[in-house]
Amino acid sequence: MNTDKNESPMTQILADLKALAIGFATTFKHLFQKPFTEEYPEYKRPLPARSRARIILTRDPDGGERCVACYLCSAVCPVSCISMQSAEQADGRRYAPWFRINFGRCIYCGLCEEACPTAAIQLTPDFEMCKQDILALVYEKEDLLVDHGGKDKQYNFYQYAGVVTDVGEKGTHIKEEKPVNIRSNLP
């Protein structure tokens, strides 16, 4: 009820009744409409590629593990659900001998993905991973590793890194100058 002084009470009442009638007619019309509901287990809405659910560890195009065990994801994780150990391969590449994510704690914030310098850790749209046993939600490296590049298929960290490994010698990396001889280019 708005209290407009200029209108007579009768027109006011009629206007109110009309407003009520419109409301009731609207809900009555809804009765014969097909509900908008998407019924979940029968219909699964295709999720955007960037929606954040189960975390994976991706590989570079050559099939090597991208993760260099830098601990950045573990450090940025607000609930500390990522833990790992770092080690070095014979050619100097760093890797994680074990890598563990506790999905019972994970809040799927995606900060690990943002922190990752090698695009190794990525979130996928697959969210149907609940378990009765909470310990079954602790994923080890074998559970996390996949054999594809995730969202960034062509990226290979060691082709840019400037670190001497099997992937490239000094000066062979992308956007890297040939090494100069510091003795011969003295003034």
Partner: protein, 328 residues
């Protein structure tokens, strides 16, 4: 002695049937409300438990019964435990005076189709519906929680104001039927239901009835989005279930009363009387659900203003006009 025993057994059987029907109807009224409300809001509503979610009331009651019955440490224990029962019992007892048919003849014995034909049936109904407020107010008080207390206070204030217009709206009916007995009131509507002669009265009664049953747009004692759950906030398990049953039985009773006072009670062509009463109850309940699906909640002062400044004077004027007509 033998007739006394036979009468007693009959009463128990009648009580059992009515109680069973009411609880069953209350359970399926919840289902109907959820389903219909969902469709009004362009959703599906419960559709997982059984076909069309028809087993949902059973699933709900199993859940309610098996849940833990928590009593808050700071609560006033005894009152806290009793309050839900008050709501449910008063709602159930109100149905005792509602006639659901004229009478049945079995083995040469006349069985009136009403549990108790009180000659002050209408006053009995009001007495019980006023008592029902105690369940709300005490439940809110005993919970020892600010939200529950606010809900309880609102409940009490709202009930007092709407009880008045509810009672006043029925005085013209009593004047027309010249009786307080619900059986006589239905008898007086043999030619035409009273809604045709007392439409204003019906409107006041219906609005007050919705307010009595604490439903949207008058659900201030519950007011989910300001008080959590209002007066039954601290309740869990079957005690919460009792409040719920009380509310839905209350809807049925108010539907039955609307039918008895205005829609001709069990009267109707072709179908047997109890079915007519049932249909009228369901019709009133469906309209109440429709209202719930459409209107927003009134503010507290608007609620009070509507009760005291609109409904009560309108009911009083209606009484005067009806009296004048009867005198002429």
């Amino acid at each position: 002695m033998l007739t006394w025993i036979a009468g007693f057994i009959l009463l128990i059987v009648k009580l059992g049937i009515v109680l069973g029907c009411m609880l069953f109807l209350a359970a399926y009224l919840v289902w109907a409300e959820r389903k219909l409300l969902a469709r009004l809001q362009v959703r599906y509503g419960p559709n997982r438990a059984g076909k069309f979610g028809l087993l949902q009331p059973i699933a709900d009651s199993i859940k309610m019964i098996t849940k833990e019955d928590i009593v808050p440490e700071a609560a006033d224990r005894i009152i806290f435990l009793v309050a839900p029962a008050v709501v449910a019992t008063t709602a159930l007892l109100m149905f005792a005076v509602v006639p659901f048919g004229s009478s049945l003849k079995i083995w040469g014995r006349e069985i009136p189709l009403v549990i108790s034909d009180l000659n002050v049936g209408l006053l009995y109904v009001f007495a019980l519906s006023s008592l029902g407020v105690y369940g709300v107010a005490l439940g809110g008080w005993a919970s020892n929680s600010k939200f529950a207390l606010l809900g309880g206070i609102r409940g009490a204030a709202q009930m007092i104001s709407y009880e008045l217009s509810l009672g006043l709206s029925l005085i013209p009916i009593v004047m027309l039927a010249q009786s307080f007995s619900l059986v006589d009131i239905v008898q007086a509507q043999a030619n035409y239901p009273f809604i045709f002669v007392q439409p204003i009265s019906f409107a006041i009664f219906f609005i007050s009835a919705v307010a009595e049953s604490k439903r949207i747009p008058f659900d201030l004692p519950e007011a989910e989005n300001e008080l959590g759950a209002g007066f039954h906030m601290e309740y869990s398990g079957m005690r919460f279930g009792l409040f719920f049953i009380g509310e839905y039985v209350h809807i049925q009773v108010l539907g039955a009363l609307a039918a008895v006072f205005f829609l001709g009670g069990w009267r109707g062509p072709w179908l047997p009387p109890p079915v007519w009463l049932l249909l009228k109850i369901i019709l009133v309940a469906l309209v109440m659900i429709w209202i719930r699906g459409t209107l927003p909640r009134l503010r507290y002062d608007q609620l009070m203003e509507l009760g005291w400044k609109v409904l009560v004077p309108a009911a009083l004027i209606n009484i005067v006009i009806t009296g004048a007509f009867i005198l002429i």
